[in-house]
Amino acid sequence: MNCDYLRERLDNLWEGAESAEVTRHLAECPSCAREYRDLRVVGAGFRLMKREAEPEPSIGFAERLVRQLGELSKAPSVAEFFERAGRRFVYATVVLTFLALLAIVLPATGPVRGLSIADIQLSGPEAQMANADPFGESSLQDAPDLAPEEVPAPAATHEVK
């Protein structure tokens, strides 16, 4: 049942090469004959697909595209604007959060000294609060300097689609 004759010549046969030897084998070997039939069916399907009339650009396609590109390249795109604004917002958030943490921690620890992460996370009553909220997210969001109105609308990072 399993004969490799056809499979070994698959690419040549697929591309249309036939020979007397192949024909002889196909006449004797039902398994290859069956497979060859499928090969012809698939090949015919491909050729028919290829021959279909292809859609053509509507009149003025290139001109419209150039105009569109011109408009897109004028004035920085909206997406870029939000991207930049978004990045600035992230920086600002990081800095403000850090300052807020310092403000909480410093008065309790007296004169300025080197602060380690461990100091911030594990000392004082604030630590318990922080532990109740393992990711510290709620306290960050409550930071007074960050009015929620400043949050940009979900960045419209649309590419041209």
Partner: protein, 201 residues
């Protein structure tokens, strides 16, 4: 798509100006390659109504990325790579499997069709039979793994050479040959398997 020396020099001028951000210089490149892109997109997505929008998106992407074109491969190969990737992004989101026309034919008509397809050139088949064959191959392509599909489409429908496909897909030509062989084999195996599935149900 052969370029004469003068045409090529002209094309390089357009590309360089487009790389400076001049959309007007991109226009002639669009003119020159729009049919090629339409054809590629159509064969990759098989949806007439989507082709123009996709082609437009592809040219916009190409213009935005044109500084990354370094004249190593031909411009059309570079453009085809962008087009192929764009179509696959689209297909990943849009693919909906439709009912197969071929499998609704009944076993006898299928066998008759297969016998006809073997004994005569495909344009001698009647309209229904032609539709069924195209539909069968379309469905087989939909079932094929993405890498197989890409390679088969570029080879069988777009007539790219092994070397060109290698450039478009960023592979070695020998790899393309091996994958093409495997893709063809798998497609025939899948047809056989699919036939069994249909017999059982």
């Amino acid at each position: 798509m052969e370029n004469s020396g003068a045409q090529l020099a002209q094309e390089i001028q357009w590309i360089k100006r487009a790389q400076q951000g001049e959309p007007e210089a991109f226009g002639p490149l669009v003119q020159k390659y729009q049919q090629r892109v339409f054809s590629l997109v159509y064969h990759l997505v098989r949806r007439r109504d989507e082709v123009e929008d996709l082609a437009q998106e592809i040219f916009i992407k190409a213009f935005r990325a044109i500084r990354s074109y370094n004249f190593q491969s031909s411009f059309v190969t570079w453009l085809s790579r962008i087009a192929t990737n764009h179509c696959y992004d689209y297909l990943r989101h849009e693919r909906a499997s439709r009912v197969s026309f071929y499998w609704q034919m009944g076993e006898e008509s299928q066998q008759e069709l297969e016998a006809n397809a073997q004994s005569q050139p495909e344009d001698a088949l009647d309209h229904e039979e032609q539709l069924a064959l195209k539909d069968l191959v379309e469905k087989l392509l939909e079932r094929a793994p993405e890498n197989d599909r890409k390679i088969l489409l570029l080879k069988e429908l777009q007539d790219y050479s092994v070397e060109e496909i290698a450039e478009i897909l960023n592979l070695k030509p020998t790899t393309v040959k091996v994958r093409l062989h495997r893709a063809r084999k798998r497609m025939l195996e899948d047809l056989r398997q699919w036939r069994e599935e249909n017999k059982r149900s």
